[in-house]
């Protein structure tokens, strides 16, 4: 079909608008990260790009103090960064591994047919509704402010998502492919990890990325279940205020830039699979 120039122009205007809405805050964050203190606010007039670009903000969050700044931090970004990485990755592994195995058992062997709905129930109410009991339980087993305690709750909260996503991917795999492998002499386990898993690899990658982003950006659970040692980036970001300077926008922006890196890197790494994963239904049989 031939598209008229007017329609094409309209399409681009619309795409640019949509992109602008999405990119505007991101761009603002990135430029803000390189602005020195006086340029954060309207005092000297807001500009898009820093008039005197500086790495001061990054220096500050990494070392706790920076030249030309009177305030200092008791905690640098390093601890929360490690904490976020460890708990997000462990939580993701937990959710993806158990979600994958469970959904495979449900789809292929018809086991635990009530599991899908009961797992879904985990997501039917906001995590906040159960956080008080969870806090009590976590305190009881000594899981508060530990890496494994936070990883565990991340794994549990994102498990339904991983389970349901993987379930739809497994349902797409024709059972005959597995039968063919079994007839060729493969055991069930070998069929699973040599045939089925490689086939759903795009889905697995997509699932892991989504779950990782969910965990990575969590604020609430980390706020309630950590105190000092295993505070994560989002919680840490909220502490970036000073009695003298108020909100430390530049530092927060710098932190935001750093926090955006792992999901972006992860996303780029699996980009090839991501497109396949989202269009998995098109798998040739």
């Amino acid at each position: 079909m031939k598209v008229s120039p007017g329609a094409l122009a309209l399409k681009y205007v619309f795409v640019l608008l949509a992109a602008a809405v999405v990119l505007y805050p991101l761009l603002w964050m990135v430029t803000m990260a390189f602005k020195p203190y006086p340029e954060w606010t309207t005092v000297s007039g807001l500009t898009w790009f820093p008039k005197n670009p500086t790495l001061q903000n990054f220096e500050f969050i990494f070392y706790g103090e920076a030249e030309g700044l009177v305030v200092s931090l008791d905690r640098t970004i390093v601890g929360p960064l490690i904490s976020s990485l460890v708990t997000s990755i462990c939580g993701t592994l937990l959710a993806v591994v158990s979600g994958t195995l469970a959904s495979y058992a449900v789809v292929r062997f018809g086991l635990a047919q009530s599991l899908p709905l009961s797992v879904l129930q985990l997501r039917l109410f906001p995590p906040l509704a159960v956080m008080i009991p969870v806090m009590v339980m976590w305190a009881f087993i000594g899981a508060v402010d530990t890496w494994w305690g936070l990883s565990l709750i991340y794994g549990i909260v994102t498990l339904p998502f991983a389970f349901w996503l993987m379930k739809t991917f497994f349902e797409e795999v024709p059972v005959e492919i597995e039968d063919a492998a079994r007839v060729s002499g493969c055991s069930y386990w070998r069929v699973f990890y040599r045939i089925t898993l490689p086939i759903v690899k795009p889905g697995l990658a997509t699932c892991a990325l989504f779950v990782f982003i969910l965990n990575w950006s969590d604020y609430l659970l980390a706020l309630l279940l950590t105190q000092k040692d295993w505070v994560t980036l989002p919680v840490y970001m909220a502490t970036l205020t000073s009695a003298m300077g108020g909100q430390m926008y530049g530092m927060k922006a710098a932190l935001g830039v750093i926090a955006a890196i792992p999901p972006v890197v992860f996303g780029l790494m699996i980009q090839k699979h991501l497109v396949r994963g989202l269009t998995f239904g098109a798998l040739k049989q």
Binding site: E176, D179, S184, L283, Q285
Partner: protein, 366 residues
């Protein structure tokens, strides 16, 4: 290569009986087709032979040996699936070598056999490409090659040709027959296409609603259907099967058809219908090519009159739809002698006619 005996096998899924009391004897090296309409239990039967499904009752013996306790991966069976079940994430080479690698065959030997098989199936030029890039026709060849390469004791094919275009299907049909001779293997072939079954198989097992209807050579089944279902299912164009009440009138036995048509029965078919006095309603069967027009050829041929409703050209012949009151007979006109609207007499030789009990579908007398 193995012989297979299926002894009184029943398969139930919950309350549903998919296969009931099935008995089949398959000789070593034989090519057997399981033929039946969709959902009749033929694929279930096949899956039980392969071991993909457990047998509820009865036993399946390979060379007299019960394999029900043997894991499917140790049975050494070749299986070609309807949708080919190609490992799309692997290369063509890896697809072919897969079964051998699992069996831990020596690397050089794998390479030799993969190349020979690719050559045989004429997909050598595709070996290094991903299997997902193959055309449907090539996938079919790959699927057969992948199953054959492990030299299985039996070869099972589940409607392997149904997804192919007409031209390639005809080619593959011939090719399968050649392959079967080359491999010399016992082959079981599931299909709902009677032409495939007729042209390929040494023996055909006709299955309906989980029950074996008839088991025999293609000709036997065509000429001597054991019951009304087989008569109706096999043959193209289909056999005329006219149902009605049997009534003795003025010394002749007649089949009174709903709508008023009457078939005066004579000769062999008459004695077949009267062989069981308990039968009051029957089904009269005759193949379209056995009905003839023009001069009567034998004394006891059954004569009827009908109107030519439709003429359908099929190659050099024409299919004739003859209306007798409310009943339609299908015949063949191979001399272009009829016109639409003609009122013509037609004849049916009793020796070529078949008698069935309408209630049970059982063949009478024959």
């Amino acid at each position: 290569m193995s012989s297979i005996q299926i002894n009184n096998v029943t398969k139930r899924f919950g309350d549903f009986t998919a296969v009931e009391d099935m008995c089949l004897d398959i000789e070593e090296g034989e090519f057997v087709a399981l033929l039946g309409p969709s959902g009749c239990g033929k694929t279930t039967t096949m899956n039980m032979i392969a071991g993909l499904e457990d047998v509820t009752e009865g036993s399946i013996l390979f060379d007299g040996q019960d394999l029900s306790g043997t894991k499917i991966q140790d049975r050494n069976i070749g299986f070609v699936f309807q949708n080919y079940a190609i490992f799309t994430h692997l290369s063509v080479y890896k697809n072919l070598s897969y079964g051998l690698e699992v069996k831990k065959v020596d690397k050089a030997e794998i390479d030799r056999r993969v190349k020979a098989m690719a050559d045989r199936m004429s997909i050598s030029h595709r070996l290094d490409q991903p299997a997902s890039s193959l055309s449907v026709n090539e996938m079919q060849k790959l699927a057969i090659g992948r199953s054959a390469i492990v030299e299985p004791r039996i070869f099972l094919l589940d409607e392997p040709l149904s997804n192919l275009d007409a031209g390639f299907r005809a080619y593959m049909r011939a090719e399968l027959k050649v392959l079967q001779h080359e491999f010399g293997q016992t082959m079981i072939y599931v299909t709902h296409d009677q032409i495939e079954a007729m042209s390929l198989a040494d023996k055909i097992a006709i299955i309906d609603q989980g029950k074996l209807m008839q088991y025999g050579s293609p000709l036997e089944i065509y000429n001597n259907p054991a019951n009304r279902f087989v008569a109706n299912f096999v043959g193209s164009p289909r056999m005329n099967l006219i149902d009605g009440e049997l009534r003795e009138e003025r010394g002749t036995l007649r089949l009174m058809v709903h709508g008023g048509a009457e078939i005066p029965l004579s000769g062999q078919v008459r004695s077949e219908f009267s062989s069981d006095t308990k039968v009051h309603s029957g089904s009269f069967g005759i193949r379209p090519q056995d009905i003839y027009f023009g001069a009567r050829r034998a004394e006891d041929d059954i004569e009827m009159h009908g109107t030519v409703e439709v003429l359908e050209r099929v190659g050099p012949k024409r299919l004739v739809y003859l209306q007798v009151l409310e009943t339609m007979f299908l015949a063949i006109d191979d001399q272009d002698q009829l016109n639409v609207g003609d009122e013509v007499p037609f004849y049916m030789p009793p020796a070529k006619s078949l008698a069935f009990d309408l209630a049970s579908g059982r063949r009478l007398g024959g």
